[in-house]
Amino acid sequence: MKKTNLIAVLALYAAPAFLHAQTTGYSDVVGYAKESLPAGQHFFSPSFLKAPVYTGTATLTGNSVSGLSLSGNLGQTTFSDRPNFPTHYLEITSGTYAGTYYDISSNTSSGVTLASTPQTSGAVTVVIRPHVTLGDVIKADSGIGEYSDSIAVYDKTGGFAAYYFAGGVVTADDFATEMSHVPVPPGNGVGINCGANLNITTVGTVRNKDLKVPVYPGAVNVVGAFNPSSAVKLTSTNLANELDAYSESVVLYNSSGNLGLVAIAYSDGANVTDDNFNAYNSTSSPSVSTKGSMLINAGSAKYITLPGAAQ
């Protein structure tokens, strides 16, 4: 049950972006999607991005990025009474590492410091966007059950934190500390356990370029289709080349609320296969739904490429 409204190819060039339009070479498509999640358990991934606050060229030196023109605080939140999280991330949009993204730790008016070091350096084109947060995804009108429905956000080590909804906001498990600022990194998903139907409306920019989502061994890697308009077949991804053959897997569940197993898929080094290592083709391939996610069982840290939705 999905309603998607893509506002026809709106050029969203803000002034800085327009100045560097030649380096990005595409217009952003904006829209919204209403996803209905039946009562039960789900892995859900938002499929939109937020509009960029900077688009243009930059110079990478380690985890420092210079040559930017910025305003405002793009670093971590600065709460004193609750955990802080990144508010913005920088994505490289040119070269071999295009589609990789990095949280911003701090910034000046001309540069940012990243929380981790990109695998490339020198002149690149970049885009900086605010993170989508739990507060953007879960709102009072979504029908979420106060105190009862949970949202799980996964870390790199295999653990997760559970968040709830109380007093009209997303909270920690003390039901008092607001945690609406917890980011949901692009391409990532969350676990939702809801006692009644949940209606999630997400708004933003449709991604039209490939995105490289980092996954980690031992972690619960919830990776979405990142496409608000149509399901993504596994064979249309690069999983055949990105998964270690016969060992790393992708698990797909249904969206009916019972987490019924749809498929466990592998790679044989050239194809995406079923769990008997029979290659899928474009007809037989299972898909990641617009509101669903795939769980990647990674043996080593790596990137999974999500194809852009509106290329």
């Binding site: 106060e146 949970s150 295999g158 997760f160 559970a162 109380a166 356990n193 619960v220 769990d275």
Partner: protein, 242 residues
């Protein structure tokens, strides 16, 4: 030759499949949260409906029997031994694999919150019925190795354990791997199967039940209140016994 290759491939595939079986997810753990921050979500209160704010804690876990003996509901040492023998806590020290929070001790407002993390999804598979066993005395040590106090007969009686509550609700079922479940106190009561083994449903709040002698007095008081109310109603409508 092709057939032979296919056979080798098939055997290889089967071998790998067997090796990889049952590992669709990297981690198999759940979180269980107790949701009792205020009277809106529901509190566990003493039998006199006053909040518990000096000591007391909750155990959270599952029962090893689907048909617990509900007649053993009063807080005596003998009954404690019975429930303790069938209760598997989410805490590691009791087999559940999880780390429990200090916020499962009642705070100064009588509230409870917080999550046990890393609870074994194999010990608590999806749809396991979860229970809360609340005490008016004692405290949990948070962490994986601390945890559940072991009581002796001397811990029961005046100034120590005099009240408890044992409860569950239709909604309190363990989630799937890598998901969380919140146990909201106001969900207790009204189930088709009574899962308020020990306690009184006050609407949102649940009141503990006291030890036997006090429980008898409580029942007498409740009975008196009911009779008085019946008497008043009878007078009001001009009826009553002949």
């Amino acid at each position: 030759m092709k057939k032979s290759n296919n056979k080798i491939h098939h055997i290889f595939s089967l071998t790998v499949a067997l090796l990889l079986a049952e590992i669709p997810g990297a981690v198999a753990a759940i979180s269980v949260t107790v949701a009792s921050p205020n009277s809106s979500s529901g509190l566990i209160v003493k039998s006199d409906q006053v909040t518990i704010n000096t000591s007391g804690f909750v155990r959270v876990g599952k029962l090893t029997t689907a048909t617990p003996d509900a007649t053993k509901n009063l807080p005596t040492f003998a009954n404690y031994q019975y429930w303790d023998s069938i209760f598997v806590d989410v805490n590691s020290a009791s087999g559940g694999g999880g780390i429990t929070p200090s916020t499962w001790n009642f705070n100064s407002s009588g509230a409870l919150s917080g999550s046990a993390t890393g609870v074994s999804a194999s010990t608590f598979p999806t749809s396991t019925q979860l229970w809360i066993w609340a005490f008016n005395f004692g405290s949990l040590t948070s962490g994986s190795t601390g945890g559940i106090p072991v009581f002796s007969s001397s811990d029961f009686g005046a100034g120590k354990i005099t009240e408890w509550a044992i409860m569950s609700a239709d909604e309190w079922i363990a989630p799937a791997d890598n998901l969380a479940k919140s146990l909201v106190i106001n969900q207790v009561g009204g189930d088709t199967v009574n899962r308020l083994i020990a306690g009184t449903d006050l609407g949102n709040n649940i009141a503990m039940i006291p030890e036997p002698s006090s429980y008898a007095l409580l029942l007498s008081a409740l009975g008196f209140m009911v009779l008085s109310r019946v008497g008043r109603l009878s007078k009001k409508i001009g009826g009553g016994r002949a």
